[in-house]
C-alpha cells in the first residue's frame, strides 16, 4: 500500500540537500569545532556557515544565534534563562495555546514562585495584543507568545506584541517553531528579543534547533559546562545535524509554500462532507495547516481508519495523542471536550501533490461516512 504524509507540523522528511550536507559531515568532517587544529577548523567552518545560513533565514546577525538540541530546549533556555537572570517578585505572560515546550517551563517557574498569566484567545485562536497590555505589571519580566500555533496554524500578532513589550521594557520571546519555513520570519522587523526555531519542521534533521538572542538581552545559563556557542550553551556542537539545518534554511529562504493544496483539501472537505467546521481563524494561518472538526466522529478512530487507508494525519499535537485529555489548544479556543475529540489536523508539505489531496478527500469522505454509520462517538 502507498502511504502519504499529511502530518508536516509533527515533523518533515529530510530535504535531499540537507541529507547531502549531513552525509558529507558525518563521513568526513569529524573534528571537534572547538579544536585548534585542521580537523577542528574544518568543523568550525561548517558550523559557522550553517549559522550564517540560519541567521539569514530569520534576519539576524549570526552572532545572535545559538544552536541547541531543538525547539524544546530553545524554549526552555529562553524562558528559564530570562526569568532566572532577574530577582525579586516576578511575573511572566504567555498564552493558553502555547506548545508544551513553553507551558512546561512556565509551569516550572510557577512552582518556583513566579506568577504566570496565560492569556486566552477566544475562538479565533489568535491572541489579542490588548490582553497582553492589560496583563502587564510592574514586575513582569518576560512575555512569551508563539508565532504560529502548531494545531491550528493561526498566526499571532507578534510584531504588535513586540511593540507593547518594547514600550514596557519587557523582553519578548517568540516560539517560532511552527512559523519558520512556512511564513516570512524576520526577527529584526518583528522586533522580538528571543526567537526559538527547530530544524526538523523545516526538512532538516531532528535533534537540532536554535535560539536567537538579541544582542543585549540578559540570559542566565540553564546548562553548565564548556564555553561553546559564545558561552551560552555548553556541549560539543552536532556539526552534521547543524549543517543539515543550514542547508534546509537556505532552501526555505528561497521559497515559502503557498496555500493552494491546503485550500483544495479544505474546500473539498467542507463542500462534500456535511457537519464539518474549520477550527480557528481561517484568514490568518500558516499556509499548510487545516484543523477540521467532524461532527459525531471520534478523532482517534479517524486517525486509525485513515492510516489503514494510507494517509497519515493527527488528532492534534503529536504529544497529546494517546493522552486522555483533549487538546488544550482546542479547549482553550472554546471547543467542548467532545468537539475537540472530533477534530483532525492536516498539515501539508513539500511531498504532497494534488492527486494525493484528492485521494485523501475521498478517503476522508469514506471514513467519515463509515464512522458515522457505526457511530463511534467521541
Amino acid at each position: 500500500m502507498q502511504h502519504y504524509y499529511f502530518d508536516h507540523n509533527a515533523t518533515t522528511p529530510l530535504a535531499p540537500e540537507s541529507l547531502d550536507a549531513m552525509t558529507l559531515c558525518l563521513g568526513q568532517v569529524y573534528g571537534n569545532a572547538s579544536s585548534i587544529h585542521y580537523f577542528g577548523q574544518l568543523a568550525k567552518q561548517r558550523l559557522e556557515a550553517a549559522r550564517r545560513q540560519v541567521a539569514a533565514l530569520i534576519g539576524c546577525d549570526a552572532k545572535e544565534l545559538a544552536f541547541t538540541s531543538g525547539g524544546t530546549e530553545s524554549d526552555n533556555f529562553a524562558i528559564l534563562g530570562v526569568v532566572r537572570a532577574t530577582a525579586g517578585p516576578r511575573h511572566l505572560i504567555t498564552s493558553a495555546i502555547e506548545h508544551p515546550a513553553v507551558l512546561g517551563p512556565c509551569a516550572q517557574l510557577e512552582r518556583e514562585g513566579v506568577e504566570v498569566t496565560r492569556v486566552r484567545t477566544g475562538a479565533s485562536g489568535i491572541v489579542d495584543p490588548a490582553d497582553i497590555r492589560r496583563t502587564l505589571r510592574r514586575e513582569t519580566v518576560l512575555i512569551s507568545v508563539m508565532h504560529a500555533n502548531n494545531e491550528l496554524g493561526t498566526i499571532q500578532p507578534v510584531a504588535e506584541i513586540a511593540g507593547i513589550a518594547r514600550e514596557a521594557g519587557v523582553p519578548f520571546h517568540v516560539d517560532g517553531v511552527q512559523a519558520l519555513g512556512k511564513i516570512p520570519v524576520n526577527v529584526r522587523e518583528l522586533g522580538v528579543d528571543l526567537y526559538s526555531v527547530s530544524a526538523h519542521k523545516l526538512y532538516a534533521p531532528k535533534g537540532v534547533g536554535a535560539l536567537y538572542v538579541r544582542k543585549g538581552v540578559k540570559l542566565s545559563g540553564v546548562t553548565f559546562g564548556g564555553r561553546h556557542e559564545r558561552g551560552r550553551r555548553p556541549g560539543t556542537e552536532n556539526v552534521p545535524a547543524i549543517a543539515g539545518f543550514g542547508a534546509a534554511a537556505e532552501l526555505a529562504a528561497r521559497a515559502l509554500p503557498d496555500s493552494c493544496l491546503r485550500d483544495r483539501l479544505e474546500n473539498a472537505v467542507l463542500e462534500r462532507i456535511p457537519g464539518t467546521h474549520v477550527n480557528g481563524n481561517r484568514a490568518q494561518r500558516t499556509p499548510n495547516t487545516s484543523n477540521i472538526q467532524f461532527d459525531g466522529v471520534d478523532g482517534e478512530a479517524m486517525v486509525i481508519a485513515l492510516d489503514l487507508r494510507g494517509f497519515a494525519v493527527s488528532t492534534g499535537s503529536a504529544c497529546s495523542s494517546g493522552a486522555v485529555t483533549p487538546s488544550h489548544v482546542l479547549t482553550a479556543i472554546g471547543l467542548s471536550a467532545d468537539s475537540a475529540r472530533s477534530s483532525i489536523r492536516f498539515s501539508l508539505g513539500a511531498s504532497n501533490t494534488e492527486e494525493q489531496v484528492d485521494e485523501l478527500v475521498s478517503a476522508i469522505e469514506a471514513s467519515v461516512t463509515h464512522l458515522r454509520r457505526i457511530s463511534v462517538h467521541a
Binding site: 471520534d298 482517534e300 478512530a301 479517524m302 486509525i304 481508519a305 492510516d307 489503514l308 494517546g322 493522552a323 486522555v324 463509515h370 464512522l371 457505526i374 457511530s375 463511534v376
Partner: protein, 369 residues
C-alpha cells in the same frame, strides 16, 4: 467469515494475546493489533505499584505489544479508553464496595470496554471481527441459530465466568483462538514462534489494583476524588446483634472473609454480611455462611433463550468456585431467577456474578442480589 477484512486483535502485551495475533497471522489473516490504554498506573501516587505483578497498561506492556506487532509485521495502535474505563468500570467498582457488595470489574470491562468500545474501534479500522486471548470457546448452533459460549478446554484457565454479559451480536463478531488450547500449549506455541513475550509472567485478575490490595486502591481513589475514606467505619456485630468490636471501613470486608476481623473468639469468625446503611459488619461461624438459595438479577441468556419453566444447571458464584448443581426458576421477567442449590453453598456474595452452566456450555449469567 470474509478473508479480506482484517481482524482486530486486542493486544495487552502478554503471552496470550500475543499468541492470538501470531496464530491469526500464521493462518493467513490480515491482523490489526490494538492495545487498550485503560488506566494510568501513575495516577494514584500514594499506591505503590513498584514490583506489582502483572499490572496492566504500563509503558512496558505497550512496549511488549508493539514489539510483537513489529515482529509479526502488522499495523499496531494504542487506543485510549481511560475515560470510559473510569466511568464504566472503576466508578461502579468503587460504588459497589461502598454499597457493601463485592464487585467483579472484569465483567464490566468485558461488557462495556472490550466487547463494546473495542468492537467499535475495530469497526473503525474496517475489521468486522475481533480476537482476544480469553480462554473460552464460541460455537454457532445451526439448529437454534444462537452463538453459544463454552468453557475453555483448560478448565484451570477458563474465563467464561467473566464473559457472561456477552450478547449474541458481540459473540457473532468475536474469536477466541485460545479456547481449545491449554496454557502450557500456548506458552509452547509462543516460544516456537519466537515471540519475545513467551516467558512473561501472567497478569493478575484486577488489572488496575496493584498487588490485589483493593482496600488500598479504594482509599487512594477516594482520597484523590475528595471522598473521606474513613466515613464507612462502624461496628462489628454478631448475627443476633451483639456488638463485638469496631472496624475501619465496611469496604474492607467481603462475605466469607476470615482475615482482618481482629476479634478473638472460641471458633474462627467469618464475615456473614455487610450493611452499608448501618455500616455494620456481621460476623459468625463458617456454618452461618451457608445458603441454599439466592436471587440473580440482570440475567443475560447466551446459549439458550430465556427458559419458560424451571431448568437444571451448575452454578458458579465466584471465579474459583466449583459449579454447584441447582434449579433455576425465573421470577417475573426472564431477567431474574431464583437459584436453589442442591447442597447449601458457602459465602454467596451480593455483587458477584452467578454463571449458569450445562457442562461446558454457558447458559447465561447475572448478578447476585
Amino acid at each position: 467469515m470474509t478473508e479480506t477484512l482484517p481482524i482486530a486483535v486486542a493486544m495487552s502485551g502478554g503471552v496470550d494475546s500475543s499468541t492470538v495475533a501470531a496464530l491469526l497471522v500464521r493462518q493467513g489473516h490480515r491482523v490489526v493489533g490494538m492495545t487498550m490504554q485503560l488506566w494510568n498506573q501513575r495516577r494514584l501516587p500514594g499506591l505503590s505499584t513498584e514490583g506489582a505483578a502483572g499490572r496492566c497498561c504500563s509503558l512496558d506492556d505497550v512496549y511488549d505489544a508493539r514489539r510483537v506487532a513489529e515482529q509479526l509485521g502488522v499495523p499496531y495502535y494504542v487506543v485510549n479508553f481511560e475515560r470510559q474505563f473510569e466511568d464504566q468500570v472503576v466508578k461502579p467498582f468503587v460504588a459497589e464496595y461502598l454499597a457493601g457488595r463485592t464487585p467483579v470489574p472484569c465483567t464490566l470491562c468485558n461488557n462495556y470496554i472490550k466487547f463494546d468500545r473495542f468492537l467499535e474501534m475495530a469497526d473503525a479500522a474496517g475489521a468486522r471481527q475481533i480476537a482476544t486471548g480469553h480462554y473460552a470457546r464460541i460455537r454457532h448452533n445451526v439448529q437454534s441459530g444462537r452463538y453459544e459460549l463454552l468453557r475453555g478446554v483448560d478448565h484451570a484457565k477458563d474465563q467464561t465466568y467473566f464473559l457472561f454479559g456477552l450478547t449474541q451480536s458481540q459473540l457473532a463478531r468475536t474469536l477466541f483462538p485460545l479456547g481449545h488450547l491449554t496454557k502450557p500449549e500456548v506458552r509452547e506455541l509462543a516460544s516456537s514462534m519466537d515471540l519475545s513475550v513467551a516467558v512473561k509472567a501472567d497478569s493478575q485478575e484486577i488489572c488496575f489494583v496493584p498487588n490485589g490490595d483493593y482496600a488500598a486502591f479504594l482509599n487512594a481513589y477516594l482520597e484523590e476524588t475528595g471522598v473521606d475514606p474513613a466515613r464507612t467505619e462502624g461496628e462489628i456485630v454478631s448475627e443476633d446483634g451483639r456488638v463485638l468490636g469496631r472496624h475501619e471501613g465496611v469496604h474492607r470486608f467481603t462475605v466469607g472473609q476470615r482475615k482482618g476481623i481482629g476479634i478473638a473468639a472460641a471458633e474462627p469468625l467469618y464475615v456473614i454480611a455487610t450493611d452499608p446503611q448501618t455500616q455494620r459488619v456481621v460476623v459468625g461461624s463458617n456454618q452461618d455462611l451457608l445458603r441454599d438459595r439466592c436471587f440473580v438479577k440482570e440475567i443475560n441468556w447466551i446459549s439458550i433463550a430465556a427458559p419458560d419453566g424451571p431448568i437444571r444447571a451448575q452454578v458458579k458464584i465466584r471465579n474459583k468456585h466449583v459449579p454447584a448443581a441447582a434449579t433455576l426458576q425465573t421470577v417475573g421477567d426472564a431477567a431474574r431467577v431464583e437459584v436453589t442449590f442442591d447442597e447449601p453453598q458457602r459465602a454467596v456474595t451480593p455483587g458477584q456474578g452467578a454463571v449458569f452452566y450445562d457442562g461446558d456450555v454457558v447458559l447465561g449469567g447475572g448478578w447476585i442480589e
